[in-house]
């Protein structure tokens, strides 16, 4: 089984309709793709925000004396970003949608407290353990501030 927590979590988030209504398919691994056009043009181009960026921070695993048992405790940062006049409200809404996401299963458990199958992984527990807010101010006059909420999840799974 070639389990990858980042791939599976992104698939889970993209399958959630409530989150999709906010960010469409803008759920990225590690960093968002760079825009192909100049910053000024971005303001009116296809929306790049709000968006979600998923990054695995660490993933220690469990051993017994005979070797690894396959259980991994991953710490995953899910960054929820919004830009412009509604950036803060967008980031807050996206963060809430991530926390409550159900991976497309309306009767399934929410991500915060999740237990079950996620992609090809067997998740023992996913828990929201920390959240931080920050703002990235504009560097140039024609840029808009980006509001950011980082959610830290601890996810225990079998790979």
């Amino acid at each position: 089984m070639a389990s990858d927590i980042e791939v599976n979590l992104i698939g889970y988030l993209k399958a959630d309709p409530a989150l999709g209504a906010l960010v469409a398919s803008r759920v990225y691994s590690e960093f968002a793709p760079q825009p192909a056009t100049a910053p000024t043009a971005l303001q009116t181009a296809a929306p790049l925000y709000p968006r979600v960026v998923v990054q695995v921070v660490s993933s220690p695993q469990e051993y017994h004396l005979g070797g690894p048992i396959g259980m991994v405790h991953a710490r995953v940062q899910v960054s929820c970003l919004g830009r412009g006049p509604n950036g803060k409200a967008d980031a807050v809404a996206v963060a809430l949608a991530v926390k409550n996401s159900q991976g497309g299963n309306p009767t399934g458990p929410k991500l915060d407290g999740y237990h079950g199958t996620m992609g090809d992984m067997n998740v023992q527990k996913a828990a929201l353990t920390d959240r931080r807010r920050s703002v990235e101010g504009p560097t140039h006059a024609d840029e808009l501030p980006v509001r950011r909420i980082d959610l830290d999840f601890e996810i225990t799974y079998y790979e």
Partner: protein, 152 residues
């Protein structure tokens, strides 16, 4: 879904009580942690004076089913249920269900005999300096032979 026959973490493990005595198992609410009973079998010495080897010998003695301990976050309804069992000295069937089955409700079960009872109950410290929920802890005295049913 838990991986069959693999070690699991404590998450979604439950401490349950048979509320009616006829198999109506209900989770004890707000449980933060519990410790299953540490069961023990006594040691019965059967050394005799004429034996040739100068080493004491033993055989298994009486079984002691032990006590389970638990800690819950105090919420009035959950506390009231346990308080009722305690003050009335009610014998109940208690059990632990681990989250190691194909679903959280099909995990392995350790049932505490047939007539366990709560023999200790009380709040932990209520302090001006604490910002944590008030905790209540207690002990369940297990009576008789515990039974274990592996997960399905």
């Amino acid at each position: 879904m838990a991986a069959p026959n693999l070690p699991v973490i404590s998450y979604l493990g439950t401490l349950q009580v048979d509320t009616t005595g006829s198999g109506a198992w209900a989770d004890i609410g707000q449980v933060q942690k519990f410790k299953p009973p540490q069961m023990k079998v006594g040691d019965s010495q059967n050394t005799y004076l004429q034996q040739s080897a100068p080493w004491r010998t033993y055989q298994p003695g009486w079984g002691e089913p032990g006590e389970a301990t638990f800690t819950i976050m105090m919420r009035q309804s959950d506390y009231n249920t346990l308080f009722g069992y305690f003050t009335n000295r009610t014998s109940k069937n208690f059990r632990i269900r681990y989250n190691d089955g194909s679903t959280p409700s099909s995990g392995s079960v350790l049932t505490f005999g047939s007539a366990a009872y709560i023999n200790e109950l009380g709040d932990d410290e209520v302090s001006r300096d604490s910002e944590l929920p008030i905790m209540t802890s207690g002990k369940i005295k297990v009576s008789g032979l515990p039974t274990y049913a592996p997960a399905t």
